[in-house]
Amino acid sequence: MSVPALATRGLDKSFGSLAVARGVELALPQGERYALIGPNGAGKTTLINLITGMLKPDRGQIFLGDTDITALRPEARVKCGLVRTFQINTLFPRLSALEAVTLAVCERRGYAGSWWRELPAYDDAVEEAYAILVSLRLAASCYRPTRELAYGQQRLLEIALALATRPRVLLLDEPAAGVPQGESAELFSVISALSRDITLLFIEHDMNVVFRFARRIIVMAAGRILVEGTPEEIAADARVREVYLGGTRRG
């Protein structure tokens, strides 16, 4: 079997006496579409924070391909191709969508430190940013400041910023959070149309969406990975039903 695109080995993290990640072992094969589900407080966002370096694990290792990235800073992990989006819009309110995506492209291409030529001179970066916005159907409003965009467009811009970094592994933290149910399927059809070169992991609560768009599902509870399997396996798993419906969980 080939090397997984992303793998973790024995990730532990505690806040005081509260263990938010306990021995998390992941192995995402190249190009796979994963959903990460679990009740509130299961540690899903924490896991994304650990993998992307926004939190430091107490123990364990993270591998991107066969490279150990555990010691890398968040921006260095992005440069290696490990990228995330945020559950709550984390955008640049007074930059236009075009400027924001161009900024991400400039950072990747190594232009962002140069200050002796004006931005329009970097036509390759501007063109690439514009093409990303076109592909996400944001071109029409890309000159407006981000804060003036409709909420659904801002969710798309979250993804556009991530795509501009050319991710190999993309972690989407509730990409449709706050989007009305009808539109969330539309958002996910955009996500599922992304290149198969990108390995995807998304957190999502709407089970219809999860079962429709994920090829495999990971269920987390209380900081642990409870079970991993195909949608059919997860739907039939008694432990999963217990976690979601049973309330108290056996230790």
């Binding site: 926004m54 075009l98 400039c106 430190g113 991530a162």
Partner: protein, 328 residues
């Protein structure tokens, strides 16, 4: 060639094109030579303060890095330029370059601390650095002249031709040209990819690492550039007045330049310049009426601007223009 630009490029180009008002503004800076020839000394001090405010605008207005100790770099440039002249090298242009390099070196050294902090911690650290340097200059009286100021600064003629005199003709010409060059540099910088990255840091420092940006490196760079510019402003003051006082390093000067920038409008390039004109002219006029209490009026002005024009005077004017454009 405008025709070869794509639509998004044309749009970005339009944002950075020179506005006719800008050209009118820079032509108007020549008016004091004709209209108020008795106020050229004041005009040169306004130009120097404007350059200082512009340097603060680069870090505060664009990168969102607040500083309450920016006078450290102004004063360091001022003393460097003053001491070089006192020790026998009174040539203005090379003195300016040496002062710029000295302030830049200080800025680069301190930028490693600056890049690690934000918000309140940063205010305290910059305040502390400023106080530290001011007190060091005060205690090193053998070098700086202490509270009496640096005496014996003798400048040579500018380009061997123009003497700095009581009328301020050479001083204003010199300061205005340096301000304009500094402005051109700042304008290019903020319209570059680097300038975009700075605005990114200001708009959302959390997102920057998630798009692969090494914000601390950007912050160190812009802080060093701003320190160079502040040092040049300080050197101009030393050279045109042929003296340096401890006031150039004082907390008061750090606070004044912050007030000037907020008054004019931060993050707008011209905010610091407009703020400097209003503040310095107001100080000149009010202190003529009542020298002790003129800060009362500055306080009133500051409160009024922040309450009613949160983006400064320039921000308010821009809004007015937009409203009028919509009404027409």
């Amino acid at each position: 060639m405008a025709s070869t630009l794509s639509e998004p490029q044309r749009h970005l180009e339009a944002q950075i094109r020179w506005h006719p008002l800008e050209i009118a503004f820079w032509l108007a800076t020549l008016l004091p030579f004709v209209l108020t020839p008795n106020y050229l000394v004041l005009a040169s001090q306004i130009a120097i303060t404007a350059l200082f405010a512009l340097s603060l605008d680069l870090i505060l207005g664009y990168a969102g890095i607040i500083s309450l100790g920016h006078a450290a770099y102004f004063g360091f440039g001022s003393y460097t330029a003053g001491l070089i002249a006192k020790w026998g090298w009174g040539e203005p242009l090379t003195g300016l370059l040496i002062a710029a390099a000295a302030a830049g070196a200080l800025g680069y050294a301190t930028s490693f601390i600056i890049a690690r902090f934000r918000h309140l911690a940063l205010i305290m650290i910059t305040l502390g650095l400023g106080l530290l340097l001011a007190e060091a200059a005060n205690s090193a009286g053998w070098l700086t002249g202490g509270a009496d100021g640096l005496q014996g600064v003798r400048m040579w003629k500018l380009l061997g031709l123009f003497q700095f005199d009581l009328y301020g003709t050479a001083a204003y010409t010199y300061s205005l040209i340096v301000l304009f060059l500094g402005f051109l540099l700042a304008r290019r910088l903020i319209n570059s990819p680097f300038g975009l990255a700075l605005r990114g840091i200001r708009e959302n420092a959390v997102r920057m690492p998630a798009i692969g940006a090494a914000s601390p490196a950007h912050i160190r760079k812009v802080f060093t550039i701003a320190a160079v510019m502040a040092g040049i402003a300080g050197a101009l003051l030393a050279q045109t007045t042929e003296t340096v006082s401890l006031e150039t390093l004082s907390f008061q000067r750090s606070a004044d330049v912050l007030v000037i920038l907020i008054l004019g409008g931060a993050g707008r390039l011209y905010g610091g310049i407009i703020g400097a004109i209003i503040y310095m002219v107001a100080r000149d006029q009010f202190s003529g009426i009542n020298p002790q209490y003129w800060y009362f009026w500055i306080g009133m002005l500051l409160i009024a601007v922040v309450m009613f024009l949160p983006n400064g005077i320039l921000g308010g004017m821009a809004r007015l223009v937009r409203l009028e454009g919509r009404a027409a």
